[in-house]
Symmetry: C2
Subunit: 164 residues, 2 copies
C-alpha cells in the first residue's frame, strides 16, 4: 500500500463535510497520544509561524478543551482562541466539537479515526461536519490547508525523532 | 402571532438535519431552566410510557451528561441510554452532542434556541445535525415524534402548573 504523505483535504459533494487523510509511520497508539497529550498536541498543531498554548485540556469522554494560537513574530497581539468538548475519546476514535472564537456561533463536529495499517503505520482520517455548505466552503477558503499540512509535518518529525 | 402548539418536525431537503419548533407560554428563562436543571429535565423528556433517570449532568459550557430511559410498565429490563457533552450553555442557546448508546458510533450535534416572543412566550427551535441522510432518515422513521410531542406536552403542563 502506498502511503499518503501529504494531507489530502476533500470537500464532500453532498454533505457540509471536510475530510482529511494522511498516513504516518507510527503505530496508532502514538498518534492517539499526540492528539490527547496537551504538551505534545501544542507542539505540532497549526502552522509553523504560530505558537499554541493550552488553556484547558481534559481529553476524556465528556471532557473539554480550549487553546490559543498566536504568531511568534509579533507580541501576541493577534490571538486565535478555539474551544470545544470531547464527546468521545477512545483509542481508535475521537469525537469532539470545535469552535473558532472569532466566529463564536459557528461549531463543527469533528471525528478523528486512527486506522492501523500494520507495519507500524497509521492512517489518520478526520471529518469536520458543519450545518451549512457556506460555512464549510468558508473554512476551505480560509487557508486552513497551510496549518494542516505544516502541523502534520511537525507531527511527522516528532514521531520520527522519538518526541512522541 | 399564532402560537405553534404542536411540535413541528421538519427534515431539511439539502442537509442531514432535523429541525423542530414549538412555542411555549413561558419566558425564555423558564424554558432554559427546564432544559438545564436535571430534576426538571428528567420529569418531562421522552414519551409518557418511559421514566428517565439522570446518571450524570453538568449543564455548563464544556460539561457533559448521561441519562437512561426505561418503560414504566416493565421491570426496567429494556433501558435506553443516551450521553453527550455540552459544547455551549448560554441563556439563549444550548449546543450539545447526542448519542443513543444502542448505536454507539452515531452522534448528532444538537442546537437549541430559546427565542423570546414577548408577552411571556418563547419559541423553542432545535436542530439535529448528523453526517448522513441515511442516519437522519432512520431517526425520522424511529417514532421519535411520539417522544418529542409527549415530552413537550409534559413540559407545557409543568410550565402551566408552576413546577418549572
Amino acid at each position: 500500500m502506498n502511503m499518503i504523505k501529504e494531507t489530502v483535504i476533500e470537500a464532500d459533494p453532498g454533505l457540509p463535510v471536510i475530510r482529511m487523510t494522511r498516513d504516518f509511520a507510527a503505530a496508532p497508539g502514538r498518534l492517539f497520544r499526540a492528539h490527547t497529550d496537551p504538551a505534545l498536541f501544542a507542539r505540532w498543531v497549526g502552522p509553523d509561524a504560530m505558537a499554541t498554548r493550552i488553556e484547558h485540556w481534559d481529553a476524556r469522554t465528556g471532557g473539554s478543551w480550549r487553546y490559543v494560537s498566536a504568531r511568534e513574530d509579533t507580541d501576541g497581539d493577534t490571538e486565535y482562541w478555539f474551544h470545544g468538548c470531547f464527546h468521545e475519546v477512545r483509542p481508535d476514535r475521537i469525537v469532539q466539537t470545535f469552535t473558532f472564537e472569532g466566529d463564536p456561533d459557528g461549531v463543527a463536529l469533528e471525528t478523528l479515526w486512527f486506522e492501523d495499517l500494520g507495519d507500524g503505520r497509521t492512517r489518520l482520517r478526520t471529518q469536520s461536519l458543519v450545518d451549512s455548505f457556506e460555512s464549510r466552503d468558508a473554512w476551505l477558503r480560509s487557508g486552513m490547508e497551510v496549518g494542516v499540512n505544516e502541523g502534520h509535518a511537525k507531527l511527522e518529525r516528532m514521531l520520527a525523532d522519538g518526541t512522541v
